[in-house]
């Protein structure tokens, strides 16, 4: 058994080279919940520092394995080849499952983060989401982030929100659920946490 910091991204999420994105998505969510600050299971099992490091790695693993180009590069680096997932993905069998909220929304025209920037220079996630006709419950279902946490995220409730690492992760999931570019959304969100950076 390897130490977790010696695992590659596949080992970290306990998926294989062939695993499609939908399964990676599930694995990612279950591990993130497991090591979440509020998780009773990992309560005091690992230190705060280890927890942040671990979540960061899980986040990186997820980002890499969910992005075709990044995954190809990663596979080449680690295994010297492209995983079999690539060929089945090319057939479009399980494409974009995680973006399903977008198709449930009203408009099909492109939604741009910039259009929802408020006077204070920050994006209103609520207006953005509502413009797409997507409910918080729907996002919660896709991202497995609890509704109160999503609300806190939309309201930038610094008391309820965890530290910046987590907020960043939540924002990424939020963006993906809506089919938006995570980086753009994070930028438009502004400072991630008042408590810690």
């Amino acid at each position: 058994m390897k130490n977790m910091d010696e695992c590659n991204y596949y080992e970290l999420l306990e998926v294989s080279e062939e695993t499609p994105k939908s399964i990676i998505q599930e694995a990612y969510h279950s591990y993130r919940t497991l090591f979440d600050k509020d998780s009773i299971v990992s309560y005091n099992f690992i230190s705060e520092h280890e927890r942040e490091e671990l979540l960061n790695r899980i986040e990186n693993a997820y980002e890499t394995l969910m992005d075709d180009q990044k995954r190809i590069d990663y596979d080449k680096k680690v295994f010297n080849r492209i995983g079999r997932w690539y060929h089945s993905a090319a057939e479009g069998s399980m494409q974009e499952k995680y973006c399903s909220a977008k198709t449930h929304g009203k408009g099909t025209e492109e939604v741009r983060c910039e259009d929802f920037i408020e006077e204070n220079g920050r994006i209103s996630l609520k207006k953005l989401r509502e413009s797409m006709g997507v409910t918080l419950e729907k996002i919660s279902m896709i991202t497995k982030i609890r509704v109160p946490m999503l609300l806190a995220l939309e309201e930038r409730d610094s008391v309820k929100l965890p530290s910046a690492v987590y907020v960043k992760g939540y924002l990424k999931s939020y963006a993906r659920a809506l089919g938006l570019d995570p980086e753009k959304l994070i930028q438009a969100y502004g400072p991630l946490s008042l408590r810690r950076s």
Binding site: M1, K2, N3, M4, E14, S30, Y31, T33, L34, F35, S39, I40, V41, S42, Y43, N44, F45, I46, S47
Partner: protein, 354 residues
């Protein structure tokens, strides 16, 4: 086999320890009723109350005033441990009652512990179930590690989970320490004390990594032995549907963070009937045989029975606590080391060594 009389080898002699850190999580309840459930499955079972100072297993089994106790064996009033066996209301199930004598329980010297372990491992039964006390004292850890299978009991509360986590960490550290006595490594203490290492060694995995960096072969040997110890988890006092997932998640976490497999043996719902049975001094499985909790415990028993074929490392003589040999050995591989004062500021892993 090794010339053992046939009637003796008829028994499986599988030792199962029930522990897990916190008090009141249901260890005694499980030990007693698991014993009954296994006996109902036609197994010969002996349950031993090793909660030194908190003995109450007899009450869980419906026995009010046991006359003979483990204390009689420890004080050598009894020549062998089978003389301490008491009958129970259940066919095929016997009890060794715990000792509540304040004088003999506070500390159990190494020789006594060795005699006790070597004797209960040889008892004639299919399953020998040890009910352990709370906490992470050396006695508790050593009894736990002397078993072929260790069960930890937790409830879905942060305090119980925290204690079970600490318990598992202590068990692994103690295990590693014992293995290191059998496979000594030169200069290990100094290397651990090296300030550059002190910073990074927090878990038994870190320590193993340090050892691997200069003694790869020994590290491999130790690792495979560590992974050999089988652990199971029981979640008790479940009240809500949402709490049922905790067991699976906990299993995943232990596997991920410590690299050890943990069987999730089952969950027991909170049930008013349990305190009611306790008040009547009647075992749950006899008094309320059709409650959900009773069924859950029977299911756990079946899982354990089903494991027989492979997981139990029953190669005797190769076991971790081979006390029989060590009794005569002049340089015991497993010897009680004075722990010294706990050094609070050091991480758990290191505290065990210095």
């Amino acid at each position: 086999m090794t010339g053992m009389p046939e009637w003796q080898s008829m028994f499986k002699r599988c030792v199962i320890a029930v522990g897990g850190g916190k008090g009141g999580t249901g260890k005694s309840l499980l030990a007693a009723n698991l014993g009954i459930a296994l006996a109902e499955l036609k197994q010969h079972v002996i349950v031993i109350d090793l909660d030194l100072g908190g003995a109450n297993l007899h009450t869980c089994l419906g026995i009010r005033y046991p006359k003979i106790t483990l204390g009689d064996f420890l004080q050598r009033k009894l020549t062998s441990i089978d003389k301490a066996l008491l009958p129970s209301p259940i066919e095929n199930l016997k009890l060794i009652n715990g000792s509540n004598d304040p004088l003999e329980i506070t500390s159990l010297p190494y020789a006594q512990k060795a005699r006790l372990i070597s004797q209960f491992k040889r008892l004639n039964a299919d399953y020998i179930i040890l009910d352990l006390g709370a906490g992470t004292s050396l006695n508790v850890l050593d009894f736990f590690l002397s078993a072929d299978y260790g069960i930890v009991v937790a409830t879905p509360e942060p305090t119980a989970i925290e204690n079970v986590s600490l318990f598992i960490k202590c068990v692994m550290m103690r295990h590693l320490k014992i293995l290191l006595k059998q496979l000594p490594i030169e200069n290990l203490k100094n290397r651990i004390k090296d300030p550059r290492n002190l910073e990074t060694i927090r878990t038994f995995r870190d320590l193993l990594r340090l050892i691997r960096s200069f003694e790869k072969e020994t590290a491999d040997k130790i690792e495979s032995k560590l992974e050999n110890f089988k652990l199971g988890l029981v979640m008790n006092n479940i009240r809500e549907q949402s709490e049922t997932k905790i067991g699976d998640s906990y299993k995943t976490m232990i596997h991920k963070c410590m690299g050890i497999p943990l069987d999730y043996l089952g969950r027991i719902y909170y049930d008013d009937k349990i305190p009611m049975a306790v008040k009547k001094i009647r075992p749950l499985l006899l008094e309320y045989p059709n409650t959900k909790a009773a069924h859950a415990i029977r299911l756990i028993a079946k899982r354990i029975l089903g494991m027989d074929h492979s997981p139990f490392p029953l190669e005797q003589g190769n076991s971790l606590f081979d006390w029989k040999k060590k009794d005569k050995d002049t340089s015991p591989a497993v010897q009680e080391m004075p722990m010294g004062k706990p050094q609070k500021e050091l991480p758990l892993g290191v505290r065990f060594y210095i």
